[in-house]
């Protein structure tokens, strides 16, 4: 399904209003201080509104939206710094299952992922955090007639609260996608302390852990789901960039020093003008990448990699400038500037760094 511009505007309004009332800054701060790291009540509402299931086919209880709508929705969640497993369960796990050929698993898992009653997450990289085929640190073996997993998967988003783990593991002849449930006692899960407290992740250690094979899988399929997650990440980055920028400009207009609004100082004005180019460029990059992916046309990988580093760099730059432009208040914990800067730092590394994606971009360009 491809939505019209009007439908998209309406969708945006719904989410925006929901988040404005239910994911205010104080709510974000309260949620990030909880152990689970998300608000189950708000999560349920996101399920009801079809947001968690946005990428899931209607036949499995989802909304069946595509990359363009995904990017748009994530702009709003990123703007609010929403604390939730949307990226892990609704995006990464959902899209990995959506491209599965195992209809039984789809029918069993997707409806409860879509309505939010089950949280799923993907375990695919070891401690090195590569998010590439080389980064897979779990091996699957047939022990007698049962499948066992061994090894480490780290940076598993919202691992501690997840019900279902989709584990990408090496096999004797390639890769396989496996299902492990939280009830299985034979793996260790250690929550990781996150510098960005609005996020959660965990490290899993498998030791002869029983698992179900969903299907043999090739890296390209995993990559495709990661690509969708990169669109989501770009959306959240862009939303956060825009919000912290707007907040900073507003502050510049109302904060007086030396008898003038600080936004009347030309150095601040020129800095803001330069940052606006970064803000707008990252919006263009994220939406272009989503559009290319939605239309499955040429240059979709090129566009994706461009967005992957341009949106990371812009968020890092703009949120760092925001702290400085706020002066003393920006150095306090109570001001949200550092929350955006923390998110910017986190997203610049999660799923791959800007320099990694600059290199991928250049390769796509044939260099």
């Amino acid at each position: 399904m491809k939505s019209t511009a009007d439908e998209r505007a309406a969708m945006r309004d719904v989410i925006c209003n929901l988040l404005r009332s239910e994911a205010s800054e104080s709510h974000v701060r309260a949620t990030m201080a909880t152990r689970s790291g998300y608000d189950a009540t708000l999560w349920k509402k996101l399920g009801t509104l079809g947001i968690i299931g946005m990428l899931i086919d209607p036949e499995h209880g989802g909304s069946g939206l595509g990359p363009i709508e995904l990017e748009l929705i994530m702009e709003e969640t990123g703007s609010a710094l929403l604390c939730s497993p949307l990226l892990s369960s609704g995006v990464l796990a959902a899209s990995l299952l959506m491209s599965s050929k195992n209809r039984a698993v789809q029918q069993r898992l997707l409806p409860s992922i879509a309505d939010g009653t089950k949280l799923a997450t993907v375990a695919m990289t070891d401690d090195r955090g590569y998010w590439t085929e080389a980064g897979i640190g779990v091996h699957a073996h047939q022990v007698k007639d049962r499948l066992r997993l061994n090894g480490v998967a780290s940076y598993v988003l919202y691992g501690e609260v997840s019900d279902v783990f989709l584990v990408v593991a090496r096999t004797s002849d390639g890769l396989g996608l496996y299902e492990v449930t939280k009830d299985d006692s034979r793996f260790e899960l250690a929550p990781l302390s996150m510098f960005d407290q609005t996020l959660r992740s965990a490290r899993l250690r498998f030791a002869d852990t029983p698992a179900r094979l969903i299907e043999p899988i090739d890296w390209a399929s995993v990559q495709k789901s990661l690509d969708v997650a990169l669109i989501a990440r770009a959306g959240e980055q862009v939303g956060g960039t825009r919000r912290i920028f707007d907040m900073t400009i507003a502050y510049c207009k109302t904060r007086f020093q030396f008898g003038r609004p600080i936004g009347s100082f030309q150095a601040m004005k020129h800095w803001a003008a330069d940052l606006l180019i970064d803000v707008e460029s990252s919006i263009s990059a994220a939406r272009y990448a989503a559009d290319r992916m939605a239309n499955q046309i040429d240059q979709s990988q090129e566009a994706l990699y461009l967005a992957a580093f341009a949106c990371s760099d812009a968020y890092t730059k703009v949120s760092a400038a925001a702290i400085q432009m706020h002066g003393g208040i920006g150095f306090t914990w109570e001001h949200p500037a550092h929350l955006y800067a923390r998110r910017a730092r986190a997203y610049a590394q999660l799923f791959g760094s800007p320099s990694y994606y600059r290199e991928q971009y250049l390769r796509q360009l044939g260099a």
Partner: protein, 401 residues
């Protein structure tokens, strides 16, 4: 309101008409012109045809050489001409000087000037900037003093292109020295072919001479040549500059620049630098800058078509300046030691050196990067204006330097 299907039929009909006309009249090419100030007879003849068919200014009414069309339909005409490479259509957008005259001159003057300018029988240039008024155009000091039936002009203009070939100029001069700086200015449609107008070429840092200095000594212009009324020059100028920005925004890069390959990857390969990871990272960053600039442009057009407000247009020039400087920087780093050299034996070094300096054409010319940042922060972000102590005092009391 026109129904959608009718509108589509109408579009198709217009395209058909333009195509048929081009089919019947366009030879497929024109002999090359020396430059835009010296057109071949064939080009001029073609422009007459376009003018007479009403394609030159399609949005203007029929009694003003046009066809009374909407902007959207006029764009179709431009597209069809562009497709076959034929010049001269849609000058109501691209020819910003004529557009200024159309909107601000008296009917008599319009009748006299517009056809000649559209057909390029006459050439026209701009006399705005002065050595003492660069970024601060309202600070110009060229005087227009009443004398006889018109005005005597004295002063010095700079950054004028085509002054040596032009028959006329849009001249910005000060007509009231007791008014505030913006209030005492007038725009004249000024005749260039007279004693008292001396044109000297101005050498740029790129060692080119695209511009001139123009010295005006007791030169004359009639009062009937005023555009938009006496002492209303600032407002006319703002309109003219806006038309110019639109027109330039549509154009691609300058001539010499466009002849230089944009392929930085190819250049790096040629110099055996593609295995250098440091260069690769920079290369990706610089290419991305250019691409992001293009994406912003595309999004700006999309938003404009949907009548949504967007700051993107105003960012263009500043963003482009950064693209050009950064591209030049990495080009220099790829070509390396050979940039010590120049001349035809070292074409790639020549390109790198030229582009490094020509980037200032964009970052200084037509409003410096600094002025662009003022405009963006004030008009788009709504931050307070810079104080201008001269703004509200009689101009003769202001300081200059």
């Amino acid at each position: 309101m026109m129904m959608r299907d009718d509108a589509e039929d109408d579009t198709a009909a217009l395209r058909k008409e333009v195509r048929a006309w081009l089919e019947a009249n366009w030879d497929g090419s024109l002999p090359p012109d020396q430059d835009r100030w010296n057109l071949s007879p064939a080009t001029k003849a073609w422009l007459v045809k376009v003018f007479e068919a009403g394609w030159a200014v399609p949005t203007w009414p029929a009694d003003w050489y046009g066809r009374g069309m909407t902007e959207q339909r006029a764009d179709l005409i431009a597209e069809e001409f562009h497709q076959v490479g034929a010049p001269g259509a849609r000058q109501d957008r691209s020819n910003f000087i004529v557009r200024t005259i159309y909107h601000h001159a008296d009917p008599g003057l319009k009748r006299k000037m517009i056809p000649a300018l559209l057909k390029r029988e006459k050439g026209i240039c701009l006399l705005y900037s002065e050595p003492s008024a660069g970024s601060d155009l309202a600070g110009i000091r060229t005087r227009a003093d009443i004398g006889g039936t018109g005005y005597l002009i004295n002063g010095q203009k700079v950054w004028t292109s085509g002054a040596a070939f032009a028959d006329y100029a849009l001249l910005l001069a000060r007509t009231d020295w007791d008014a505030t700086k913006h209030a005492g200015l007038t725009i004249f449609l000024f005749p260039m072919r007279q004693a008292g107008v001396e044109v000297k070429p101005l050498r740029q840092i790129t060692d080119e001479n695209h511009f001139n200095e123009v010295f005006l000594t007791n030169a004359r212009v009639e009062a009937t040549q005023i555009l938009g009324g006496l002492n209303n020059g600032w407002r006319v100028l703002q309109a003219a500059l806006a038309y110019e920005r639109t027109a330039l925004g549509d154009q691609s890069r300058a001539a010499r620049h466009s002849a230089i390959s944009d392929d930085l990857i190819g250049l790096a390969q040629q110099y055996g630098r593609l295995s250098d990871n440091a260069l690769r990272q920079e290369l990706a960053g610089v290419i991305a800058l250019g691409k992001l600039h293009a994406l912003n442009g595309a999004r700006a057009r999309e938003l404009r078509d949907n009548n949504e407000p967007s700051p993107l247009v105003s960012l263009g020039k500043l963003a482009m300046s950064r693209v050009l400087h950064e591209e030049a920087r990495i080009r220099t780093s790829i070509v390396g030691v050979e940039t010590l050299l120049c001349g035809p034996d070292h074409p790639l070094a020549d390109d790198a050196n030229f582009l490094a300096f020509n980037a200032y054409f964009t970052s200084i010319g037509g409003g410096t990067d600094q002025i662009q940042r003022n405009i963006i922060s004030e008009r788009i972000l709504g931050l307070p204006r810079e104080p201008d102590p001269d703004r509200n005092i009689p101009f003769r009391q202001t300081r200059s330097g």
